[in-house]
């Protein structure tokens, strides 16, 4: 029998110097791939704050806001104030024992603390070191600071979304933090692969801005060739018509519909019955024809959906093979199979469910979800496991006065 299969990053040690969402989210992805993660933080730092809407309604057992509690799950925490000699020295020792460092401080902060790549690589040439500044650490905007909304704006996303004449339109969550974290995670895994061959690590100067711009690469390429801004096509699609979000009965209730084929169009027209009699002809039989009549078609569809709930619309259309999906929010998300598959219970907690990885390695058990630690909850354990220190040395370190 072969040994039990493991997740691919099992045994990879990662230090999370990240704060707010982007860095810690990147690290969470790597933890879900099997990595052993410690978070270096201190109670005086941003690691515990930010990234929430209004006052926290429940802080959870980790002392973090609910969102940050989820972002910071599956890792151990050691409390080190990096501005003290003691904190920086212990952090340096941990970095010598690590495979990967992730940080998303502003330009120059880690260098000033003596924890930059140039410092760490001297004693740990195998280190993969990922910085995640908003715009990267080089170029004319190296010193700029940017929140998620700033990157949504600067990347082109807000003017690529919506219809002609709309104001800039954004997505009301930490979208760009997630996108930055995802790109950094891919870069880190790629660098670990290269290390398997070369034996040496690398420095990854991740720019969250570039990740966000690349998400729109097709439109950027088009503008680079045509010299024109891309058309803002809203909810419509060049290859599918009609496509849109249609208002349903109730307050702010909507259903998405996307007719992908001519056969689906015929099924829709049949379902709409007499009200669509004037759309049955050859003029609407092709995508191009339906694009020409899109407004008129939308009117007929909305006259029908307006009397139904989004789920009724979704079910009617799906039953005749037309792609449709009710717009879900809050409570009704839990009814969707997709969500049930991706929600994972926190080990040993009171039935709280959090989001796990959206993929499965067949035949390998996913990591058990553990709650975010309180700041400094695992200091002794981390020093023992990573630095192989004996209890007496650990006690000395824990009680050492900050210099």
């Amino acid at each position: 029998m072969a040994a039990p299969r493991q997740l691919p990053l099992s045994g990879i040690r990662i230090i999370d110097f990240g704060h707010i969402v982007a860095g810690p989210f990147c690290v969470r992805l790597l933890a879900d791939l099997g990595a052993d993660v410690i978070k270096v933080e201190t109670n005086t730092r941003l690691g515990r704050t930010g990234a929430r809407r209004g006052p926290p309604k429940r802080s959870g057992s980790s002392g973090r806001t609910p969102h940050l509690s989820q972002i910071n799950r599956n890792r151990r925490s050691i409390d080190l104030n990096l501005k003290t000699e003691r904190g920086a020295r212990i952090a340096r020792q941990l970095a010598d024992a690590a495979d990967v460092v992730v940080e998303n401080f502003s330009n120059g902060v880690m260098d000033r603390l003596g924890l930059g790549y140039a410092d760490l690589v001297k004693t740990n040439p195998r280190i993969v070191y990922a910085s995640m500044a908003s715009f990267g650490h080089t170029g004319p905007r190296a010193g700029w600071i940017g929140m998620n909304v700033n990157l949504q704006a600067a990347s082109g996303l807000m003017l690529a979304t919506g219809e002609e004449g709309d104001p800039p339109i954004g997505i009301s969550n930490s979208w760009n933090d997630y996108i930055g974290g995802l790109h950094a995670a891919v870069a880190i895994v790629g660098a670990l692969s290269k290390r398997n061959k070369s034996g040496v690590g690398t420095y990854l100067d991740v720019s969250q801005f570039e990740g966000s711009v690349a998400m729109l690469g097709g439109l950027l390429f088009a503008s680079g060739v045509t010299g024109k801004p891309p058309a803002r096509t809203g909810n419509r699609s060049g290859l599918a018509a009609p496509q849109g979000t249609y208002r349903c009965a109730g307050n702010d209730q909507w259903c998405a519909i996307s007719v992908q084929t001519d056969a689906q169009w015929q099924a829709l027209v049949a379902l709409l019955g007499e009200r669509a009699a004037h759309l049955r002809g050859a003029a609407c039989a092709t995508v191009a024809g339906r694009h020409a009549q899109h407004d008129a078609i939308d009117e007929v569809i909305e006259a029908w959906t307006g009397a139904l709930t989004p789920v009724e619309v979704e079910q009617s259309l799906k039953s005749v093979g037309v792609p449709a999906a009710a717009m879900r929010r809050g409570h009704d998300l839990a009814e969707v199979d997709t969500w049930q598959q991706v929600l994972k219970p926190i080990a040993g907690d009171s039935g709280i469910k959090v989001l796990g990885l959206p993929f499965d390695f067949q035949g390998v058990a996913p990591v058990a979800v553990t709650d975010a630690p309180r700041v400094g909850a695992n200091g002794r354990e981390v020093l023992r496991d990573w630095l192989n220190l004996d209890d007496a040395t650990i006690e000395d370190l824990m009680h050492e006065e900050p210099a």
Binding site: Q6, P8, P56, H67, Q70, G139, W144, M147, V149, N150, A153, A154, S155, G156, L159, T161, P168, G170, N173, S174, W175, Y178, L182, V186, A187, V189, S193, V206, S207, E210, G211, V213, A214, M215, L216, G217, L220, F221, A222, V225, P229, P230, R232, N235, Q243, W254, A256, S258, A324, A326, M327, R328, G330, L333, V336, T338, V342, I352, P358, D360
Partner: protein
């Protein structure tokens, strides 16, 4: 690096591009009629029909192309021969060949299977992302530029890169299942957190979203700029230096983030009046000098000669065979690693070379071409 066969639809194509950016040899296997990516709009007229999709030009950068008809027995045999030489296959479901045949041909293959789910707009509706995108009093809106598909692609790249890393260590492959809908659901995490904490739904906030009380896209003389006023007292002091409106300077209660949150729209309207006669790049530079997170709101055209993207090598000036001189976007990973990125391949550009490598004779190749089995 690894040889990866790419049989993804347009949903996964950004993921395999990222694998090319990591230095892997990515071979796109597509039908002789061309894949769906080649049909995405907008179309660039300077190139032949199946080469002119701007999304094809971006998403297939760095890949090779083999065009083969997998509905044909000889075509499937060809794919299995290619599978024997590969480290990984990344494919949208359904697989073109039975999975056990693929794994019999190469038991140590990394096989990443992508469930594309429903059309993009339906996927974002059912996962919760649609409800938080758009103006509060307007219709919920799809993120533009196929950004939801790109997001699925990044997850796909992570799954594949990790499985390849695992194979390097253990010598054994693995089968990984990626669900596009699940990928998008995880990106709606805050919707779930808010609901599980308060029982309330997050709602769309249009151009005035953001974590801090005062955040939004505001008008200026040449478009919009985006500001996020830091929540701490010093952030407000700095902001008043940028926008010295008496209503801000003289009202000490404004220094309180909670107070500002209650008057968000009123305050942002005043800032918008101040900025409406100014230039966005000047405002933003002044704000950054005061440590206020601010950026211009840009469209993709304004980014094609962006100094930051050029300075870091994300954009590289090239002379493109179809499009002439342009700034070519190599990508967010290639800009870091310096990976050379070839232009998107013509349909079947590498068919003959790869078939030759597999042992097909020139006569075989000509016959397969003549029969329309390869292109």
């Amino acid at each position: 690096m690894a040889r990866i066969l790419d049989l993804t639809s347009d949903v996964g194509a950004y993921g395999t591009r990222l694998l090319a950016e990591l230095g892997h040899d990515v071979i796109r296997v597509e039908p002789p009629s061309g894949d769906t990516v080649r049909r995405l709009e907008p179309h660039l007229d300077a190139a032949p029909a199946l080469e002119g999709s701007a999304f094809h030009q971006f998403l297939n950068t760095g890949k090779r192309s083999v065009a083969v008809d997998l509905a044909n027995t000889e075509g499937r045999k060809l794919l299995l021969a290619l599978v024997k030489t590969a480290d990984a296959m990344v494919a949208s479901l359904p697989l073109p060949i039975e999975q056990n045949e693929i794994l019999a041909a190469n038991p140590d293959l990394v096989l990443v299977r992508l469930d594309d789910g429903e059309p993009e707009l339906c996927n974002v509706a059912s996962t919760g992302l649609l409800a938080i995108t758009g103006e509060p009093d307007g219709q919920p809106t799809l993120l533009g530029g196929h950004v939801p598909s790109s997001a699925v692609g990044v997850y796909l790249a992570m799954a594949a890169a990790a499985a390849i890393f695992g194979k390097e260590l253990t010598g054994t492959g693995s089968v990984v299942d990626v669900s596009a809908a699940q990928c998008l659901a995880t990106l709606a995490e805050q919707v779930w957190v808010e609901y599980s904490v308060s029982g309330e739904a997050l709602e769309r906030m249009g151009s005035r979203g953001g974590i801090t009380a005062l955040a939004g896209a505001l008008p200026c003389a040449d478009g919009h700029w985006m500001v996020s006023v830091p929540p701490d007292p010093r952030g407000w002091t700095n902001f008043v230096q940028l926008v010295p409106d008496p209503a801000f300077k003289d009202d000490s209660s404004m220094a309180d983030e909670a107070f500002r949150r209650d008057r968000k729209d009123e305050i942002l309207d005043l800032v918008g009046v101040w900025s409406s006669s100014r230039n966005k790049h000047q405002i933003v530079q002044q704000a950054q000098d005061l440590h206020i997170p601010a950026t211009p709101v840009l469209n993709p055209l304004e980014l094609v000669d962006d100094p930051q993207l050029l300075a870091r090598g994300f954009l590289r000036p090239v002379d493109h065979p179809d499009f002439g001189k342009m700034n070519f976007p190599v990508g967010a990973l290639a800009s870091m690693t310096g990976q050379a990125m070839s232009f998107a391949p013509r349909l079947g550009q590498d068919t003959a070379a790869i078939l030759t490598e597999l042992g097909y004779s020139t006569g075989d190749i000509d016959r397969l071409k003549g029969q329309g089995i390869v292109a």
